[in-house]
C-alpha cells in the first residue's frame, strides 16, 4: 500500500499493531492509553467502518474488474461496453469512421479561439492555454473549497471575462468541452486529491453516492456498472464503471445529440426511478470527482460516441 503523505509517529517500534496504525497515519497515544485505543479501533473495524484512502480504493476498484475479466487489458476499459460486446463494437467502429461528434470539435475549436470583447480568450483561463488538459478535470479548488469540473471552469472563465455563463445541457458548452477533450486524447487521467479534509470529504460524498441504492428500483451505480457489468439491460451491454469517465462529452444516438457526463448521470438516475439532481450541482460534481479518480491512469479518448 502506498500512501502519498505518510505522517510520522514516534514510539512503539516493533509493535505490529502500532506499525499498522502508523501505516494508516494514526498515531496512537503511548502506553496504557494505547490499550483502550486499540480496543476502540478493533470495535470500529468490527463494525465495518473502514479507514480507507482514495489510492487504495482505486487499486481495489481496478483489481475488482481485473479479477472478474482477466482477459481484458486495462487500456480497453475506456471503450466501455464495446470492450466486451464484439457485435456492438463492430457497429461502433463503423460509425467512428464518420465521427458524429466531429461538428462539435470544429465548432468548439472556433469558439475556444474566439476572443472575448476584452481581448482575452478561453486559453487565458487555463494552464497550457487550455490545450491537452482535460485529464486534470475535475480538480479540487482549495480556494473555493469545491470540486471544479471542466464545464464549471469554462463558465468561471466566461464570468471572469464579463460573459454570461453558458447553459450546460447542450450547444456551445458541449462543443468547447468536446474540443478541449479532443486536444487531450491520449493523456492519462490524473485526478488529484490534495491533502485537504474538504477534498477528501468531497471524494467521500461522491463515493457514497456511487455505492448507495436509490430510486424505486433500488439500484446503485455499483449494481449496474460493477456487479452486473457486461450483462444485458434492455438490449444494452452494461459498461464497467472503470474507464467510464474517459470519453465525455459523448454523442449518443439515443439523444441524437452530444451530452455531458452529468447528462448521463441524470439518465442513469431516472432509469432507477430516482429523482435526478441538477447538472453541475455539488452532488454530481463530487460524484464525478470520485468516478473519474477511479479511472486515473487510463487515457482520455473523448469526445466519444455511444448508442
Amino acid at each position: 500500500m502506498d500512501r502519498q503523505h505518510r505522517g510520522e509517529c514516534h514510539g512503539g517500534n516493533g509493535d505490529p499493531v502500532i506499525s499498522q496504525l502508523k501505516e494508516k497515519k494514526i498515531c496512537p497515544p503511548s502506553n496504557y492509553v494505547a490499550r483502550s485505543f486499540y480496543v476502540g479501533l478493533v470495535l470500529l473495524l468490527a463494525c465495518n467502518i473502514v479507514l480507507a484512502d482514495p489510492e487504495s480504493d482505486r487499486r481495489a476498484f481496478v483489481a475488482y474488474f481485473q479479477a472478474r475479466f482477466p482477459d481484458v487489458p486495462l487500456h480497453e476499459y475506456v471503450n466501455g461496453a464495446y470492450a466486451f460486446d464484439a457485435g456492438a463494437r463492430e457497429q461502433w467502429l463503423a460509425i467512428e469512421e464518420f465521427p458524429p461528434y466531429e461538428y462539435a470539435i470544429d465548432e468548439g475549436k472556433e469558439l475556444f479561439n474566439k476572443t472575448f470583447p476584452n481581448g482575452n480568450s478561453y486559453g487565458s483561463c487555463f494552464s497550457d492555454g487550455g490545450i491537452g488538459i482535460r485529464q486534470n478535470f475535475p480538480y479540487f479548488d482549495t480556494a473555493s473549497g469545491q470540486v471544479v469540473t471542466l464545464e464549471l471552469a469554462i463558465n468561471q472563465c466566461r464570468e471572469k471575462n464579463g460573459e454570461a455563463p453558458l447553459p450546460y445541457l447542450k450547444g456551445e458548452m458541449i462543443s468547447i468541452s468536446a474540443y478541449m477533450a479532443y486536444t487531450s486524447r491520449g493523456r492519462k487521467i490524473n485526478i488529484l486529491i490534495p491533502n485537504d479534509p474538504r477534498a477528501l470529504a468531497a471524494y467521500e460524498e461522491g463515493k457514497q453516492f456511487f455505492y448507495t441504492r436509490r430510486g424505486q428500483l433500488n439500484f446503485s451505480c455499483y449494481h449496474c456498472h460493477m456487479e452486473y457489468a457486461t450483462k444485458q439491460l434492455r438490449a444494452q451491454t452494461l459498461s464497467p464503471a472503470l474507464g467510464q469517465a474517459s470519453h465525455f462529452p459523448v454523442y449518443r444516438s439515443q439523444w441524437e445529440a452530444m451530452g455531458s457526463l452529468h447528462r448521463r448521470y441524470i439518465d442513469c438516475n431516472e432509469q432507477t426511478r430516482s429523482k435526478p439532481l441538477t447538472q453541475q450541482g455539488r452532488e454530481y460534481r463530487n460524484l464525478e470527482y470520485f468516478h473519474t479518480y477511479m479511472s486515473n491512469g487510463l487515457e482520455i479518448n473523448g469526445p466519444g460516441s455511444r448508442r
Binding site: 473502514v50 480504493d57 481495489a60 436509490r214 430516482s274
Partner: protein
C-alpha cells in the same frame, strides 16, 4: 377438501369486509387526509438524490381523483404514494448504514 372450502370462504369474507370498509369511509375528508399523509411522508423522503420519481405522479393522480369526486380512487392512490415514500425513507436509512459494504477492498478478496 372441507378445509380448502373453509379457507376460501374465510378469504372471501375478509375481502368483502375490507372492500366495504374502504367504500364506507371514502369521502372528501378521508381522501384529503390520505393525500396529506402521503405528502408528509413524501417530504420525509425528499432528500436530494434519494427521492423516488414514482411518488409525485401517484400523488398528482390522487389529487385529481379527489377533485373529480372519485374519493375511493384518491385514497387508493394516496395510500400507494405514501407506501412508496415510506419505502424511500426506509431505503435511505438502510443505505446510510450499509453502502460501505459494497466498496471493494483488496484485503477481502
Amino acid at each position: 377438501m372441507l378445509q380448502r372450502v373453509l379457507i376460501i370462504t374465510v378469504f372471501l369474507i375478509a375481502c368483502s369486509c375490507s372492500e366495504s370498509e374502504t367504500e364506507g369511509t371514502a369521502n372528501r375528508e378521508t381522501a384529503q387526509l390520505a393525500i396529506r399523509q402521503a405528502e408528509t411522508m413524501q417530504m420525509a423522503a425528499g432528500q436530494p438524490g434519494l427521492e423516488w420519481t414514482s411518488i409525485e405522479p401517484l400523488l398528482d393522480a390522487a389529487r385529481k381523483a379527489a377533485v373529480q369526486g372519485d374519493f375511493k380512487k384518491a385514497i387508493t392512490l394516496a395510500k400507494e404514494a405514501e407506501r412508496h415514500a415510506e419505502a424511500a425513507v426506509k431505503q435511505a436509512g438502510y443505505e446510510r448504514q450499509h453502502w460501505q459494504e459494497r466498496v471493494p477492498h483488496r484485503e477481502n478478496k
